[in-house]
Symmetry: C2
Subunit: 148 residues, 2 copies
């Protein structure tokens, strides 16, 4: 694959990501979560996985702990997240989703699935699965930056 094709592929990935973000954003707004930004969604995903502290979240988002703390404060104010004391470390505060937060997470998953379903409409049958498999092999775990 020459440089031009490689660059083109890179651009396609970026455009696909833009589609995902915009699509999810739209879907969330349609479900009544218009006040949430993509960064919030990434935060939900991490918090939902359990045993998350503000510092964990900051690493996951690729930001400073201050920024993560600020973001969490917003989620707490909206009733999506609660800060609970960590039984094993008096310094730390564990983040947990409220019922509203879990409902929100489900809505985000639905919205994401909708976007992907749209892709399925233009791709022959099993290709979506192949796409999934390829990306899984290619992608390394790491932060999911909410901004470029």
């Amino acid at each position: 694959m020459d440089d031009r094709a490689a660059t083109d592929l890179a651009m396609l990935v970026l455009r696909a990501a833009t589609e995902v973000v915009d699509g999810v954003q739209e879907g969330m707004a349609a479900r009544g979560y218009g006040d949430l930004r993509p960064a919030h969604g990434f935060a939900f995903a991490r918090i939902a996985s359990g045993d998350t502290t503000v510092v964990d979240l900051a690493e996951h988002l690729g930001t400073t702990k201050q920024a993560a703390s600020q973001l969490v404060t917003g989620l707490v104010e909206r009733g999506y997240v609660v800060r609970e004391p960590d039984p094993r470390d008096a310094r730390a505060r564990l983040l947990r989703l409220t019922a509203a937060g879990e409902a929100c997470t489900r809505a985000a998953e639905e919205a994401a699935a909708e976007v992907v379903a749209g892709w399925g409409d233009v791709l022959p049958g099993a290709s979506l699965g192949a796409l999934h498999a390829m990306l899984r092999r290619v992608v390394t775990p790491g932060p999911l930056r909410p901004a470029w």
Copy 2:
């Protein structure tokens, strides 16, 4: 494909995009362009395609024309871009890359190609081409937002 797999695929796309952006950013810094942000790269890509005005750029980046104008001002100050009068419209200013701007564009393409080449190392032979073909079919043209 169920919702969970679809959500997972969406996340993989986002993570892949993050890898691209971070990789290009690193590659650019290594080539002496550490002062440029991803948004600048997207601007370069559009300007390089020729006959671009500030308004065109704003649409391409999904921002306001004021923001695009501001961004262009920065590129002009750094000597990457010049504003030239449009011979067909005295209101408009055509954007053109300087020699430095073109060198920068080539550097960005190289950096992007490097990231993709890294993917080629972990994917069996023709899969990269298949990935390219799939994304091309799935992705619709549109703005390339520099921020989520």
